[in-house]
Symmetry: C2
Subunit: 408 residues, 2 copies
């Protein structure tokens, strides 16, 4: 039999989906499963987009420009100006999802064997992309007791080597909900300027910030033009995950010239999704106010309930729609599997994403799990009832004196 | 300024699009340009697909399964059975275009530094993918005087090294229109079996064969289960290039497990395009008969006209919608640029794709160009009038005694 590649052998399977067979088995047994494991919102996709698609002339569904339809890019220019981000149509390439935007950013900035520094815990699929491209992710641990704030500059300095090509952040963060302050972004600027690195920021959750906080794009920070690469997507903004419509933005002209070669090799992004995306830009601003209010309500529901559970530690997320919590259990992976395999409460149980999969450093996050608050508050409350009941009976629960509330 | 990667620096820009600025300038001067340079057909996308999309419930455009919606994969199983290809829903991963299918196939089969053998001339974007993934394409030259038939087995044997992981073919071929016979596919089977290689076949043009010829998928050849990887797409089949909807198929279970890691990292293919694709499978078979008849008419128009031009050599394409011709000119690249920059005939000119971009071996194809017969026969005839007139006045035309009709 022909041998497959080592790079994909080294690529981890998606940790988020490992538990799927257990969830399917639970459902077959008649147990209802609250899916808090994935970031698929139940929010409706705004009708402006679907209307644009349904009214479009689709007589011949043709290739678009490799960088995306000019009309769509022009609307994106206007869209980003709302966020104090000033870009031109030449400074963006429309992509098949934020995933392809990340693929282009990584390929254009790093060779095989190069290193990209990423604060952990981080979105597990970053590892999938990096490993398959022979790029080494160098993690810098953020700590739950600091609410997952940006690690100290000294920690970054220690990790930088001649192989370092970029720092990759997710802001607001999947999986922690942490929102970087302008001061933190300026610290990152000083590092990437000093060491001549790219700063890649995944900003797909920018629209969802809470408690009066405001997201700042790295493209709005002065002195970053040569360094900043932004990954964006309509998936979360408009609850249109299945459209696979993203964009990679940079003011670094040479970087964009290089990325365009990759864009041309795959011919064009989806024309259907671009028509949808163009329509979605006309979504009234009130949509975001309403959706953010809804997510905020869910966030408060989940956080309040988690904080009421003995031994559970969970920083207050300021953005995105995830909470990253530490549980008083022997092992969160085992706990999550047990929830699906052996537990139910009034015929229901909960599926979460085990935390270890979000860390690159072996042994970290073993008591943690990510909760996506993508269900309505009633369902979330019932899900939290399950979780609370489960923590009381789980055989691997820790005794109160075994719980270390501070340690990561 | 941060440095970009060497692998993308080494990735060639799309040769097909190099002449685009000259075409744009011609249009600004008021010269009409017949685009024979790209494979964007003018054929209508069947309404069954668009109807499915317009009638779908798009309240929440959600992620699908990473391998594609089960309902779509089930319909694909039925679809492939029409071609005597027997596959299961587990033996396919739905992708964002044939491009992503190729990306998955290459990444899963080859490491950085590994080699993939490709008969040249070949689809230029194969190079874009391979170079950016640090995979070396090893070309084997097919010759115009043999109609671009499969090179001799000894040629393959000579090129195989310990680094060889796969042979990649396009059948029917973009850019030559060559259709491999069952005997040729069986020869390839003996090679991949003997050397334990993958055989990757890009079969996106399978529906368009002429002169009573029939396409055979490598998945229909016995003894290939562990070796065959098929790249497919709805782009050409249903004239839906902008949908970016492809699929990678293999009966090699381990290969598919590896490819699934890549599919999961990018979450899912486009849900919109899958709904379209599912509807398109209901397209009546008469559509293919009509479209093939139309392409055949165009093919005959182009070939007849080319054969009537002094010194032009062009094998008769048996599939796809491309003709690959050799012209009595000093350099086809210069000729193609001159056609756009300096020539017009009754206010019109022709854009072709210069042949050298389809060869990996330096110096080959310099008198050749690819013609996509994607316009109606009247336009093609007028385009051929332009080409014929151009060949009479082009300053770099060869004298009759300089033309070598046999050499490649």
């Amino acid at each position: 039999m022909p041998t497959t590649s080592t790079r994909v052998a080294n690529t981890p399977s998606s940790p988020i989906r490992r538990l799927v067979p257990y969830a399917e088995a639970a459902k077959k047994r008649g147990v209802g499963v609250f899916h808090l494991n994935i970031g698929q919102p139940d929010i409706l996709t705004p009708k402006t987009g679907v209307k644009a698609l349904q009214e479009a002339d689709l007589a011949v569904i043709a290739y678009s420009h490799s960088a995306g339809m000019l009309s769509y890019r022009e609307k994106l220019v206007e869209f980003y100006s709302r966020y104090e981000v000033s870009v031109t149509t030449e400074q963006m390439i429309v992509t098949n999802g934020g995933s392809e935007a990340l693929l282009f950013a990584l390929l254009a900035s790093a060779d095989a064997g190069d290193e990209v520094i990423v604060p952990e815990p981080f979105y597990a699929n970053y590892n999938g992309f990096a490993k398959s491209l022979d790029i080494n992710i160098v993690p810098i641990t953020a700590h739950i007791e600091n609410g997952f704030a940006l690690p100290a500059m000294e920690d970054f300095e220690k990790k930088i080597s001649p192989k370092t090509k970029a720092i990759l952040i997710c802001n607001p963060s999947n999986p922690t909900g942490y929102l970087y302050s302008v001061e933190e972004l300026e610290k990152l600027r000083s590092i990437v300027q000093k060491h001549d690195l790219f700063l890649i920021a995944d900003e797909v959750y920018r629209d969802f910030c809470y408690e009066g906080q405001k997201h700042t794009s790295i493209l709005a920070i002065e002195g970053m033009d040569e360094h900043a690469i932004v990954i964006d997507s309509i998936s979360k903004r408009y609850s249109a995950c299945g459209a696979r419509m993203g964009v990679v933005l940079s003011k670094n002209e040479h970087l964009m010239t290089e990325a365009m070669k990759l864009a041309q090799a795959r011919l064009s992004p989806s024309s259907l999704a671009q028509i949808l995306g163009e329509g979605l830009i006309d979504t009234p601003q009130s949509y975001f106010a309403e959706v953010t209010e809804e997510y905020d309500k869910r966030r408060q529901t989940v956080i309040k309930r988690l904080h009421a559970m003995e031994g559970v530690v969970c920083p207050n997320p300021k953005g995105a729609f995830y909470a990253f919590a530490k549980f008083p259990v022997d092992n969160a992976d085992t706990f999550c599997q047990w929830l699906l395999e052996e537990f139910s409460h009034n015929g229901k149980t909960v599926m979460m994403a085990p935390g270890a999969g979000f860390y690159d450093t072996e042994g970290l996050g073993t008591q943690e799990a990510r909760i996506a608050y993508v269900l309505n508050s009633d369902d979330l409350n019932t899900a939290m009832d399950c979780l609370e009941a489960a923590l009381k009976v789980y055989p691997g629960r820790l005794k109160v004196n075994e719980i270390n509330l501070d340690a990561n």
